[in-house]
Symmetry: C2
Subunit: 180 residues, 2 copies
DNA sequence: CTTTGCATGTAAACCGTTACATGATTTT
DNA sequence: AAAATCATGTAACGGTTTACATGCAAAG
């Protein structure tokens, strides 16, 4: 049985204690979103598929207990499937789509000032991403483990990009100044 | 008229002198692939659409001149559309899919040795990416401009990731050693 | 009593990869 | 003569986003 990427995220999130599609989406949006996003349109259908295949199970929603939520948990098969993926040694996929870099690649068609503006915008984007991560740093440190490692990594990474782009800005600025 | 992402890549590549779908794909695969990939399945249909909209134009393939290639060039409208996109100040999209980070996020379900293996695999991936970029560094430096900037950025970026992950390895190794 | 948040879901549209088909030309 | 490379393209599939629809509960 091979799992889709979304299925793996769900299995992992359920193992971390998230019980509903809504809760999974919440956590994705403040954590893995930075390196792995998922939408409701993927989550709910995948939850159903996982249950059909016996990797998760949920009780019938208790009538009249208020919210119509349908909490699920991992089955043994689900736990095994998750572990199998985590252990599988095939080189993990990596894919980046960075429109700023694409523009920078083609930026010989821009005015020097515009190129500088682009680099500043990219810089800003990484600055903001780092700030958002810093906002949840204390909470993540308290919990520790894998989630905290990825947060530290993401933070270091965005800080690095911001710094490198700041250097490029200085380069472009002095080239601009010299031109006069 | 708004362009798809693929359309913008094509326009940019044609402006850089690439004349056929094949040539565009070639260049994408050794340059923008690292932050923006494109496949034949996107390129050829998009070439047709761009020509229908008058952003590029091509002569009829000269019969009997050998290869059945159909070289295109930018029209004025195409040049304008490209410039418009490059100048547009809306914050450029950024999206990452990093399966290694996803595994790391869930790695509390792994044995410490397995987690270390994962980090080493990620480290290795960035090392290899950096090596591939280094292989085209001299050629890119000679041409300079935007393409060279993105290459330097990509190189710095993968080197940084490799270095950070090496640090995490040391952390995990000493935690492993202490456990005994 | 109205807005915000919890909660679940679907349909359409869009994007992108993969695999395949075809055939000419160049190199070995 | 065979293999590699140049060159163009399509069909099927699968993944992803977006927009929409629904309704209850809590808070203001």
């Amino acid at each position: 049985m091979d799992l889709s990427a979304t299925a793996r995220v769900i299995l992992g999130m359920v193992r971390l204690g998230r019980q509903t599609g809504y809760e999974i989406k919440q956590l994705v949006d403040v954590s893995t979103r930075f390196f792995w996003a998922a939408s409701y349109g993927q989550i709910y259908p995948e939850l159903r598929r996982l249950e059909e295949h016996g990797l998760i199970e949920g009780d019938e929603p208790v009538a009249g207990d208020g919210r119509q939520r349908r909490p699920v948990r991992l089955t043994e098969a689900g736990e095994r499937a998750l572990a199998e993926w985590l252990r599988s040694g095939d080189e993990p996929g990596y894919e980046l789509r960075d429109e700023g870099m694409l523009k920078l690649f083609f930026s010989d068609a821009m005015e020097p000032e515009e190129r500088l503006g682009l680099v500043r915008a990219m810089h800003d984007g990484h600055e903001q991403a780092a700030a958002r991560l810093r906002g949840i740093e204390d909470a993540a440190r308290a919990r520790g483990g894998g989630p905290y490692m990825t947060l530290r990594y993401g933070l270091a990474f965005h800080d690095f990009c911001a710094g490198w782009l700041a250097g490029l800005e200085r380069e472009l600025e002095s080239a601009l100044a010299e031109r006069r």
